[in-house]
């Protein structure tokens, strides 16, 4: 039987309790990494990290700091569980994805621990929805070992500069080639599709370019099908940091500002496509 009143349960019984005045602060961020059904959640006293992976090649992390929540209690050092993200998002937006102005959906999220379901209590205008989502055995997530000391090239762009480019990517191309270089063309996105190749160059002194730190010319290819889902985060974000390390691994960090001006981060890691190294050698 679902718990009808969250108040009857002592907070001490839960290993995780989080309350939020506006559920959209959470649901928007989670939508940005929703390209697979399942996600792994890690909660520590600093906040929640939600991880989604695909094909052992791409990983997306959403960080929701404890400060975003009005109440955030983690009883253990860390709490980990796997959950169906599609269902979680449907539950979080049960009162509608675009609520009427002036109405907020409040959320209280409770998790009792390993083997227990994640309980969501949502309230809008006196109507209460209780969701009991079964959790699953957490799976080990990939460690991309992306170290800032190994970063070779780093660019920070205003997201609008990349938004159009990503939404119009030639999806008949198998790969997206990213060129980062201290010399011309500085920053280039290339696709090689059925209708021909296309190159999009960003000049170093463009208004959109917030920071440009490239030390060495790097040309890497990434599976376009793996990068395309990051468009969801890109659309929400105001700034994006693009970094590559010495192995050609790509890190995309999106800065997302919510309706209240609080900042959250979504991060994508992607492995380079192996063909590049083969053709180069």
């Amino acid at each position: 039987m679902p718990l009808l009143t969250p108040q009857t349960q002592e907070d001490g019984d839960y290993s995780l309790v989080a309350s939020l005045d506006n559920v959209r602060h959470l649901s928007t961020i989670l939508k940005a990494i929703h390209f697979r059904d399942h996600a792994t959640c890690f909660a520590t006293k600093n906040g929640i990290k939600v991880t989604v992976e695909n094909a052992k090649c791409v990983q997306a992390n959403a960080f929701i700091q404890a400060g975003i929540f009005q109440e955030f209690i983690v009883q253990e050092e860390s709490v980990t569980f796997r959950i169906n993200l599609t269902i979680l998002l449907d539950c979080l937006s049960i009162f509608g994805s675009s609520p009427m102005p002036g109405t907020l959906t409040a959320l209280r999220m409770c998790y009792q621990g390993y083997g227990y379901p994640l309980m969501l209590f949502l309230e809008e205008g006196g109507v209460v929805t209780v969701c009991k989502i079964n959790t699953q055995e957490p799976e080990e997530t990939l460690d991309f070992d992306f170290c800032s000391t190994n970063v070779i090239n780093k660019i920070i762009l205003q997201s609008e500069g990349l938004r159009e480019a990503f939404s119009e990517l030639d999806m008949t191309s198998e790969v997206l080639q990213i060129t980062m270089s201290p010399n011309k063309p500085y920053f280039r996105l290339s696709t090689f599709g059925n209708a021909g190749s296309s190159h999009l160059d960003y000049p170093k002194d463009s208004d959109l370019m917030e920071s440009f730190q490239c030390n060495q010319t790097q040309v890497n290819r990434y599976k376009i099908s793996l990068l395309k889902p990051s468009t969801k985060a890109l659309v929400l974000s105001c700034k994006v940091s693009i970094r590559t390390d010495n192995r050609g691994f790509l890190s995309l960090q999106y800065m997302i500002r919510n309706e209240d001006g609080q900042i959250c981060f979504v991060e994508y890691y992607c492995c380079p496509d192996e063909e590049v190294s083969e053709s180069e050698s």
Binding site: N84, D90, C91, I94, G126, V127, T129, V130
Partner: protein, 341 residues
């Protein structure tokens, strides 16, 4: 057999268009029943419409300034026509902002419902758009399948929350499950519930209020906290919630926990249950009790049916119609019956 009617009032015309648009969203084909007092849109073939039947009733004098009809005979003074709901809705859409609308039963090589729309024009010359909607005249012997469904008194009847809220909730629930459990009691509580292997979601509405019972007897013996429960197909419920265009200010839902004396109860493995929805837009101070339209027809031919869900849709408005007559209570009623799962 004759039928000829005219609408001149812009608001009546607009409302008639909305009703037809709603019906087009709910059903591909429907039956139009024309009688001297009423127009009915009827959907009765449950096999073809996946367990949904509909009874929509419009008082002709609330819409039409002229209305003439002659049925097939004096004792059976009615006309039953089969038509594609979309055709009628599309024809009426062009009638928005029209000066007048005429509907006529004609025979142009085959029977047609001819809709003539007199459009406004800047000059004095009038422009008329005519749609011929092919119809099929239903013979007398098939009329018996197209009668108004009846159900006994409900166990629980309750006012529904804002349909928009309900729609968005049911929409999300549809993503997760095919079946919805609906519970309500006489203390104004309504629960919408889905249960799957992965998730249980329950939305609790409270303080909705219960309409006064239609009859004094049985239903009041029920403990106010006791829930009546029915299971329904989410897609069908959503189709109604998404398709409704008449925007009632108030809606009523009726649950029938054990109502239907099944003709072949042996076939029924679950306890029968049924649910009625009614909606009314209230402009009047004291509307008449919603008594006459809470009816479910027993359905025993379908092996999986364990009861029925019925949605009733009623809208009343004080409406100035003619000079001299201050206002008229306009009333339409749309009843949808669903097979329960």
């Amino acid at each position: 057999m004759k039928f000829r009617a005219k609408i001149v009032d812009a608001a009546c015309l607009n409302h008639f268009t909305r009703v037809s648009a709603m019906i087009a969203k709910l059903a591909k084909t429907c039956t139009l029943r024309i009688s001297p007092e009423k127009l009915n849109f009827v959907l009765s073939d449950r096999a073809a419409s996946a367990g949904v039947s509909m009874w929509c009733e419009l008082e002709q004098e609330n819409f039409f300034s002229e209305f003439q009809m002659e049925g097939i005979s004096a004792e059976n003074n009615a006309i039953y026509l089969d038509l594609t709901a979309e055709n009628l809705s599309r024809a009426l859409k062009t009638a928005q902002n029209a000066r007048a609308l005429k509907i006529k039963l004609t025979n142009k090589h085959f029977p047609c419902l001819t809709v003539s729309i007199e459009l406004l024009s800047v000059s004095s010359s009038s422009r008329v758009v005519t749609h011929d909607i092919p119809v099929k005249v239903i013979p007398r012997k098939l009329w018996k399948d197209l009668q108004e469904p009846t159900i006994p008194d409900s166990d629980v009847s309750i006012y529904l929350p804002a349909l928009k809220t309900m729609k968005s909730i049911v929409e999300k629930m549809k993503n997760i499950s095919n079946h919805l459990i609906m519970e309500a009691n006489l203390s104004g509580e309504l629960n919408l519930k889905i249960e799957t292997e992965l998730v249980c979601v329950t939305t609790h509405f409270k303080d909705l209020g219960n309409p006064p019972p239609a009859s004094e007897d049985a239903s009041q013996e029920r403990p106010p906290e006791q829930m009546a429960e029915v299971h329904i197909d989410i897609r069908k419920l959503l189709q109604f919630l998404a398709g409704q265009q008449v925007n009632p200010t108030r809606a009523v839902c009726k649950l029938h926990a054990n109502p239907v004396p099944f003709t072949s109860p042996a076939k029924v493995s679950h306890p029968p249950g049924a649910l009625t929805f009614g909606e009314e837009a209230q402009v009047l101070e004291n509307p008449p009790p919603l008594a006459s339209w809470d009816q479910v027809r027993p359905e025993s031919s379908h092996p999986h049916v364990s009861g029925e869900l019925e949605l009733c849709f009623q809208k009343m408005q004080a409406w100035p119609v003619q000079p001299g007559k201050a206002c008229l209570v306009r009333q339409e009623r749309i009843t949808l019956a669903f097979s329960l799962v």
